[in-house]
Symmetry: C2
Subunit: 228 residues, 2 copies
């Protein structure tokens, strides 16, 4: 499904050059469940943004479901993002002055192609799945940190995406709520959804099937999780 070949991404800041990604090659097959761990600043979010078609690499090739992403036009990229991918951002990126329910419905309202009959009903279902049934009319500044994080997760799930990209989705959750979210991800993965999850906690990474470890823009380690 996802094929990255020697991906590089460099940021230029004043006179400084940051090699955020320094030659990443990676394959994620359909139905895979990959965890990405690594030090703060090692390039995990930059990699996720490229996989999620939110940013483009400076070097190397990215094939998503057989299509060469670097040669796709803006509309085609936007369609893939809205219809195939659900993204949980590390910083949530919720709209202020917009309720949880409205935030979660948004991806259903701006997708082209197959419209959905009852967006509010679907949005309520996913908010209930993440334990927020009683908070659907709260705006982000009326929610706790972990509740905001769960709204971001619900929004990523509402379009029934084929691929879920989750960047530190449990960083602000207690252990029991974390377990509930990870069980939900494992259930979706059992149903065939491909999942890439960034985390800095090994307990969380062990819910995946495979783990890659990053440092300084490179993959330094690659291993299977025995039980899955």
């Amino acid at each position: 499904t996802i094929q990255l070949k020697n991906i590089k991404k460099t940021f230029h800041l004043g006179g400084e050059t940051v090699h955020a990604l320094d030659g990443i090659s990676l394959t994620v097959d359909r139905g895979d469940f990959l965890a990405i761990i690594g030090t703060s600043g090692s390039g995990k979010s930059t990699l996720m943004n490229i996989i999620g078609c939110l940013d483009q690499a400076d070097h190397g090739e990215y094939f998503l479901e057989g299509l060469r992403v670097s040669q796709m036009d803006k509309n085609a990229l936007a369609d893939i993002r809205n219809q195939r991918i659900g993204f949980v951002f590390q910083g949530y990126n919720l709209l202020a002055r917009t309720t949880a329910l409205e935030n979660v419905q948004l991806p259903l309202l701006y997708r082209r192609g197959k419209p959905i009959n009852h967006p509010a009903k679907k949005a309520k279902e996913v908010l209930d799945m993440v334990g927020l049934a009683k908070r659907i009319h709260h705006e982000p500044n009326q929610l706790s940190g972990g509740q905001q994080q769960r709204v971001a997760i619900a929004r990523a799930l509402v379009t029934d995406p084929a691929i879920i990209l989750a960047d530190e989705p449990t960083g602000n959750l207690d252990s029991r709520t974390t377990e509930e979210i990870l069980s939900l991800f494992q259930k979706l993965n059992d149903e065939g959804i491909t999942i890439v999850l960034v985390t800095h906690e090994m307990d969380v990474a062990e819910h995946a099937k495979r783990v890659i470890d990053m440092r300084d823009g490179r993959i330094i380690n690659n291993y299977e999780i025995a039980h899955r």
Copy 2:
């Protein structure tokens, strides 16, 4: 240093009433190191905002260093916040389009009373302590999630506060960076600084001297950490 008696805080939203804090009584002595754990939505951040004089309780009493906080005027409260307390926010609250160095200097520039000679020099020192010496001219959107979190930590330390309130300060940090930050906190505590730290990870909580566990706006458990 910090004395809370039967503190209650209620939010009203449309027809709904949220009892965010439902009778909290707590004492934190000078030089204490308290960790607060509890489920997402249990009231931890709301409690921290009251301790940090950013919000007022609806009921109960709060004495900070012997002064009754509910009877202090805005200026006196602002002085206490700027001179005695360093706050690491769960959402960081960094200024956009403002470099890490500028963000960290801010508390030094708006404190009344004893001005500091070299704010930039002091700001660089604390940024170096959290491992960000090479990122001081980056703005928040040019930093990774864990780097932003560390800028928020540095900003809380730059005024040499007597009390550090840290709301989930390691949620976006890998284990090694987390250890570095917690060692720094333990060192500051050994020097006499009072620390209250919210976390949802027991490994992190065990770096404190005492832990309280919250649920539904109440303290349900209270225990000492043996080794400290």
